[in-house]
């Protein structure tokens, strides 16, 4: 009995020991893999990983996104992993989907692309670069690709990208962040936008899964702040469109427009367009802040202000412009008008932009003391760099007396905007100072820095020069700046609704090169401010080398200014005042004919006096006072006669006519301008009448 018992125990114990041995082997293997296996041990060791701080955004003045970090994807296909049967069944649908999504090839082209690469069993064929996240999401749902990476063969590689949602609008000013030569606000505010990267200890716990581990060395990333620019994207769009149309119309090389808010110095728009070799237009150079060139006649304002400031003359004094030519040493000064203007006032010489007139008086008073003139120019801030937020090359040039560059003709030519080089933004800052009663403010491209929607830094207006000249001098010259538009060289841009003050400029590029007339190149410009009486905005337009349809500042640059200023004036409510009831009556554009009750209600709410009528339907008659006259529409309709419907609003008519059994077809909106059945025509129940309306 004892023997038997021992036998059973031994076999159980043996089995138990075997199990124990296996368990020990497993535990040892686990320990080995976790601690000693080279690959696993390396992966499982927690590592510090850099956490990239999200870059801040750049916003326009109303919060529209100008620049945002938005990754794009390079998409490739691995066709070798796709099952032949599935491919054969679904590649046509896939091709149709790809064609609809990317719109770059038609379905058959995509079919050919897919079948060709499938026959080669291509493992890494490029489908499309720069695919957006939303496009990728659609791609992932297309036939075959919906099977995933392993069976559908879709390979999407993310690449960092900084997106400008408005395309080329203010592209150079918003800027580009790149390894070599970064530009614009992206460069100027790189530190603010970048934030600071963080550090996190992480342990790998699965495929693409990392667990954060606690560590004293962990460092949270600090997201970049947002930059709020001063750009008004609506105005920018208007300017870009106006400039683009003008460059095409005049076949010009490049053009630039800048508009500033007079008091704050906020740059509301800055457009730069240059013609590419293929004729397309792109913003690839910031001419507005970086292009130094001779400003031409727009500089005459500085010359005239100098003379007034130094008390040499008043604008009512006269100057003889001779017959339009005048010789300074061996050089001849010419007016654009052949025959000249004869003897005119200095103010008229300015309005008509007489080169002879301005150069003669400047030369007369400063000839023996040109330093005085140059000092005045310096005092007006035209010779000092503007210290803009955006980096730009400084090649300012204003010749000084006593240097090699100075000659006897320098002063007269400088007085009309030659022999010196300035940027468009510099000229604008000067005119802006004139509009701002002599206070020169620094042009600002950003108004604030914000973090999580809260303003953390407010960029205050910076005064460069509290008085470029006496207020009285500005008060004297401003009417003449307005007269340039009313009666001078920019007559074409006059607007009855508001006044523009400004000056045209036409610069002969490469002056002194003695080019043939046909080879001469000009630069047209216009700089000014509006509304003339109480300026809110200043603006400069420069167009280089217009080759068609004129080349004068008044023909080429001024109309661009007008297109922008008209739209800005019509859309900026702060430029308008509440009108009184009496003004309202005079200015009421139109009151439609129609239901007497409706008309009466509207006129009473607006406090507009009118003579009423007892009739249900009225014709509105203007004059000193509005009168509602009887319109017997119902009577006509009751007698089965078509009434006169002209001037009535559509919703009244349709209701009325259909009540009397007419079939009405309508087109257009607003007041009736045409009725197919004429007044007095007899109609039957079901007769068709066609009505056309227009706003």
């Amino acid at each position: 009995m004892i023997k038997k018992k021992n036998k059973t125990n031994t076999s159980v114990i043996f089995m138990f020991l075997v199990m124990c041995f296996i368990a020990v082997v497993i535990v040892v293997k686990i320990l080995y893999i976790q601690t000693l296996h080279p690959q696993v041990s390396q992966i499982s060791v927690p590592k510090f990983k850099k956490i990239k701080a999200p870059r801040g955004n750049i916003f326009s003045d109303n919060g529209s996104l100008l620049a945002i970090s938005m990754p794009l994807y390079n998409v490739h296909l691995d066709l070798s992993v796709i099952d032949d049967k599935i491919f054969e069944q679904e590649y046509r649908d896939l091709a149709a989907g790809l064609s609809e999504l990317f719109k770059d090839k038609n379905q058959s082209e995509y079919q050919l692309f897919l079948t060709n690469n499938k026959s080669k069993n291509s493992k890494y064929v490029r489908l499309k670069n720069k695919v957006t996240h939303n496009q990728l999401n659609i791609l992932k749902k297309l036939p075959i690709l919906a099977l995933g990476k392993n069976k559908g063969g879709l390979i999407a590689e993310q690449r960092p990208n900084r997106e400008n949602p408005f395309g080329i609008l203010a592209k150079r000013t918003i800027g580009l962040l790149r390894n070599s030569n970064p530009i614009g606000l992206e460069r100027a505010y790189n530190k603010t936008l970048s934030g600071s990267d963080g550090l996190q200890l992480k342990q790998k716990i699965g495929k693409n899964l990392w667990r954060d581990e606690p560590s004293e060395l962990n460092l949270n990333p600090q997201a970049g702040s947002d930059v709020i620019s001063t750009i008004d994207i609506d105005m920018q769009d208007v300017a870009q469109k106006a400039l683009s149309n003008a460059l095409i119309h005049h076949d010009a090389d490049w053009g630039t427009v800048i508009m500033m808010e007079v008091k704050s110095g906020h740059v509301k728009l800055i457009a730069n367009l240059k013609k590419n070799e293929d004729g397309s237009l792109d913003e690839n150079y910031n001419h507005a802040i970086a292009k130094h060139s001779e400003p031409g006649s727009t500089f005459k304002l500085a010359s005239i202000l100098s003379g007034i400031e130094d008390g040499f003359y008043s604008l009512e004094d006269s100057v003889d412009t001779e017959n339009g030519t005048y010789k300074f040493y061996d050089q001849t000064m010419r007016d654009s008008k052949k025959g000249g203007y004869g003897k005119i006032t200095i103010g008229e010489a300015f309005v008509k932009s007489s080169n002879v007139g301005i150069s003669k008086i400047t030369n007369k008073f400063y000839k023996h003391n040109p330093e005085l003139f140059i000092d005045r120019i310096y005092k007006m801030g035209l010779c000092t760099p503007l210290d803009l937020e955006l980096p730009y090359p400084n090649s300012l040039l204003v010749k000084r007396p006593g240097t090699k560059q100075w000659s006897g003709v320098t002063l007269p030519w400088m007085s009309i905007g030659y022999s010196l080089r300035l940027t468009p933004i510099h000229m604008l800052a000067f005119y802006n100072a004139v509009a701002n009663n002599g206070v020169m403010v620094k042009p600002l491209f950003t108004s604030a820095i914000s973090r999580d929607g809260e303003i953390v830094v407010q960029n205050e207006t910076k005064i460069i020069n509290p008085a470029i000249c006496a207020k009285s001098s500005i008060e004297k010259i401003t009417p003449y700046l307005i007269d340039v538009i009313d009666n001078g060289t920019a007559k074409s841009i006059s607007n009855p609704n508001y006044k523009i003050a400004g000056k045209t400029g036409t610069t002969l590029l490469g002056y002194g090169n003695n080019s043939e007339e046909s080879q001469k190149k000009y630069q047209a410009s216009f700089v000014g401010f509006f509304p003339g009486e109480n300026p809110k905005y200043s603006c400069i337009v420069v167009v280089s080398n217009p080759k068609k349809n004129g080349f004068y500042g008044g023909n080429v640059a001024a109309p661009i200014f007008k297109e922008i200023s008209d739209k800005v004036f019509a859309s900026d409510i702060s430029l308008h005042h509440v009108i009184t009831s009496s003004q309202l009556v005079n200015s009421l554009p139109r009151v439609c004919n129609g239901n007497t009750n409706d008309i009466s209600n509207a006129l009473e709410i607006l406090n507009v006096p009118y003579n009423s009528t007892q009739s249900k339907w009225s014709v509105v008659v203007g004059g000193d006072q509005l009168s509602l006259r009887v319109r017997k529409i119902r009577d006509d309709l009751k007698n089965n006669k078509i009434p006169n419907l002209s001037g009535m609003v559509m919703n009244d008519i349709v209701f009325l006519l259909e009540n009397f059994g007419l079939n009405v077809t309508i087109s257009g909106k607003g007041k009736v301008i045409y009725q197919s059945l004429k007044k007095g025509e007899v109609f039957n129940h079901g007769s068709l009448i066609n009505i056309i309306a227009s706003l």
Binding site: H133, E163, P165, L169, I205, K567, F569, S587
Partner: protein, 105 residues
Amino acid sequence: MKKNKSILSVLKGDFFSKKENRIHLPFLFLIILLLLLNIRLSFNAESLLKKSIKLEMDVSDLRLTYITTKSDMMRVYKRSSVEVLVYKDKLISSNIPPYIINAND
């Protein structure tokens, strides 16, 4: 022999057959229970962590969708784009300044 016997006694479970050791049984069971609970909780925590990481990825994905959509919307929002859209209805930007009418005037 004595050593063999003691191993045998452990393997046979003599430890539990002794009356004085039986009082420790509930405690041992409690330890086993706690161990099982710990394993279960660890597993649960790991699952939650994975779920959390996946949700973070989803949030990041949604953020990208939001950014991309907003960027697309900005293009449509552009004044010139709106002007093109409404042009077919014969609507154009007006250059006529507005009248401000105070209704309480």
